[in-house]
Symmetry: C2
Subunit: 238 residues, 2 copies
DNA sequence: TCAAAAGTGTTCACAGTACACCCATGC
DNA sequence: GCATGGGTGTACTGTGAACACTTTTGA
């Protein structure tokens, strides 16, 4: 029965799986702990939930402290509650995954941590069940980005179609036909074409686009079907 | 920093959003509390997490106690952590949603609770943030069942195509063309056609099908696209 | 024989794919 | 002018939607 007074109170943490994209690979931000216990071990960024804040508040604070950025895309991933998951004390952890523009991040390095970006497929061993958290976050990112306009969060304010296509190709490890990709993205009407071109990666130059914030916010929850469904039978792997 | 000893310990609960289907409507199972605090108020089934069990263990126990059933479909929905959500004491709640075969359930009524099935669109006011939990669970059920073979969990071991179609129509509140629906379901190859017919709802009778458990388990995580995507523009509402 | 529900067949439109082709520009 | 990457045009194909049609059987 619900007898409050007789129940166990449990230590509650949040941990953040932070993704970034450097133009080539999808990256994961982890920190090397500079304090005990487990000093020197790699870990996700995290912290304990205070009595005055929700898990979302806690995660936001952590992200702000680490990156200096407000308004980072962030959502609850899963809550990890195995009795043995934390070897110091029984702790449950509410995991969040976050997407940030790696360029904005670079400008502001927090000194309290020692954060390092690793390619999403080559990151070091992490403490506790953090590796499992990352794997789940990767799955969820792929799952969700297949139908929702999510990956824009990883790009700068203006970006080109080839850049966007590269991002999708990195995330899914498949190649897309550029013509079909362009048309599909354009057809969502979520982007505004700018007059300016990026001339760094080609002679002709590629037009910049930016997210149409109004439409983006309005459609963030609807289905968009960016990625061909893996219908179990046929899928073109890179 | 991660100083374990100085941190707040928090009361942790699980709450279960239990769905059933009676052949006509999607139903929600709630209990009327027979104990203080909030005696007489409607509430989701729940309980506190013990120091010796995970949230999943706790949820499984609660479901078992309530329904007498093992192996119920169940998954984590979301963790609710607002500081003010529980008016007795700051409590976080890990919400689970569960799908059960309402027929099996009927055979075994637990006396410890006073459970009542309500139609999913007409349930009473619930304590704390339980209404919000139910709304989120409805959303997730619709979202997930659109692509995963999930709704079979709500049906008896053998069922007919018209029954399955009715279930989908209740969940999404749209009507499907029976021909197209049949073909779509058959094409998944997840069902085995039985020789037996159900003759209760028509003169001709409809063949029973059962889930091919092997294929079902294998494909539970792949995309199946049961429901036409609401492409923002066109959708046939009942 | 007729009504009612189960189940099949057929047409049509359109989205997704593949791929050929044109464009702009630096060297 | 030619190589390179950006971008457009187009034909083909398979899936999903619409709906007409056949089947079965109880009353």
């Amino acid at each position: 029965m619900r007898r409050y007074s007789q129940q166990t109170r449990i230590l509650c943490a949040v941990d953040c799986i932070i993704f970034g994209y450097d133009g080539i690979d999808l990256k994961l931000l982890v920190i090397q702990r500079s304090f005990q216990p487990f000093k020197g071990k790699w870990s996700l960024v995290g912290g304990f939930i205070k009595s005055t804040e929700s898990a979302e508040d806690a995660a936001r604070h952590i992200l702000k402290d680490l990156t200096g950025l407000d308004g980072i895309y962030m959502e609850q991933l899963h809550t990890f509650t195995n009795v043995q998951r934390d070897s110091v004390e029984r702790t449950i952890s509410i995991a969040f995954f976050a997407l940030i523009d790696i360029q904005k991040y670079r400008q502001q390095l927090s000194e309290d941590f020692h954060p390092v970006w690793f390619p999403i497929n080559q990151f070091p061993e992490l403490i506790f069940d953090h590796t499992q958290m990352v794997e789940l976050a990767k799955e969820k990112l792929r799952y969700k980005a297949a139908q929702h306009p999510l990956l824009f969060e990883l790009l700068p304010d203006k970006f080109t179609m080839p850049q966007l296509q590269n991002l999708y190709e990195s995330v899914y490890n498949i190649t897309f036909d550029k013509g079909n990709f362009n048309r599909k993205i354009i057809s969502t009407q979520l982007l505004t074409k700018l007059k300016e071109k990026d001339k760094l990666s080609s002679k002709k130059g590629a037009f910049y686009y930016k997210v149409d914030t109004k439409k983006y916010n309005a459609s963030a929850h609807s289905f968009l079907n960016f990625i061909p469904r893996p219908t179990v039978l046929s899928q073109s792997i890179k």
